[in-house]
Amino acid sequence: MSTGNYILSLWLFSVLMLFLETGNVHAQSSNFKDNIYPVGKLKPRDSVLTLKPGDSAPDFTLPAVDGGTITLSQYRGKKNVVISFVPAAWTPVCSDQWPGYNIAQDLFVKNDAILLGITVDNIPTLYSWTKQMCNPGEKLWFPVLSDFYPHGDVASKYGVLRSNGVSERALFVIDKNGVIRYIDVHDINQRPPLEELATALEKLNQ
């Protein structure tokens, strides 16, 4: 290759790299704007459920974003409990599921239920993620728990831990006696319609 051809190739390569880099910056800028990592379409379900309605809900204790720990059995005889497992912080569907629940507090209150949000992320990640779901100075009305260590232990006990270490998008409704009354292991790519959970909660009182 002559010197002329070498310089020409080098120039072309530089221009091409500049072009590719510009494309990346453009995409990153968009991601930073929304802070959401695009995961694409995933296998709808990737775990084997071991529990069924009528079973006792496995007890657990997990650290909460607000500090301290929450134990499921502390609500026994006091509150119905809805557990919302979502796969991961900063991902598309998960990032708008809990903000929806955040404006649906009345639905839970009128059915004497508490909501526990659980992911396999660590506390600092959950802190940042849930903070941007609310207005400045506000926070989610329900406890958010970290199933980070031992990793996915609670998700595993409930049979909703996927092979890649995140949980399914799953809802469990547990009555005041600690009995599971409703399970929805949803397609991970879709948000469960709220009315289905509302119907399950209303059935607790029938």
Binding site: L8, D34, Q132
Partner: protein, 218 residues
């Protein structure tokens, strides 16, 4: 010794072809990039988006509200579905939202402000109507959002996202302004995505682009 498989002039031609290809590629990228900037993703509180070329608003159907006030507001009657071109208005503002979207939740009080401001101005009240499209939301979820924020203008679910897709919406909230002409044609003159944080600025931008005549006094 092996000779080069191509004569020199073929090499030069190949290089010229590559250079031309790269220039075409860069030029194409430039066009796509500027199209992206002008089409949307500008916060409604920032300076006005550049006027768009005449774009038709896709005509979609929505269920006729059963609420009397909403029917009267939109100027529709009966039951079943009707087309947006049947709404009795010169300008239609469409907010594409989701009950689950924190930005839509934060925008809700300002969107209410916008509605109240328009309703409070005798020169605009009959000329601008608002509707909301709840993308990916069920009727239950749309009702929850409406009740939570006391939204007065009609909201409709778009559970399968088909309307939002037709409108070219990729994020929420998205605000669309369109002229609804008497001959049944439409013209979209405003399209922006992002949180609404100032109803007055939004309305001012929208009015500037709408071509509506305004009175000096409210």
């Amino acid at each position: 010794m092996m000779s080069h498989p191509y004569p020199d002039h073929r090499i030069r031609k190949t290089h010229r072809g590559i250079v031309l290809f790269i220039f075409i590629l860069l030029f194409s990228f430039g066009c796509v990039s500027s199209e992206t900037k002008s089409s949307s993703i500008i916060s409604p509180t920032k300076p006005s988006p550049p006027p768009e070329k005449k774009i038709t608003l896709p005509i979609f159907e929505f269920p006729i509200p059963q609420n009397k006030w909403e029917k009267n507001y939109l100027g529709v009657s009966g039951s079943g579905n009707c087309k947006i071109t049947q709404i009795n208005t010169s300008v239609l503002i469409i907010e594409v939202f989701s009950m689950y979207c924190p930005h839509c939740q934060r925008s809700a009080p300002f969107v209410n402000d916008l509605f109240q401001t328009i309703q409070g101005r005798r020169d605009l009240k009959e000329q601008i109507k608002m509707i909301g499209i709840g993308v990916g939301n069920s009727p239950y979820e749309v009702d929850l959002f409406k009740n939570k924020y006391g939204i007065l203008f009609p909201l409709f679910p778009d559970q399968d996202g088909s309307i939002s897709k037709m409108l070219g919406v990729s994020g929420t909230p998205t605000f669309i302004g369109a002229r609804i002409n008497r001959d049944g044609t439409t013209e979209r003159f405003y399209f922006t995505s992002g949180e609404l944080t100032d109803a007055a600025i939004f309305l001012s931008e929208l009015l500037n682009l709408s071509g509506l005549k305004q009175e000096d006094k409210q």
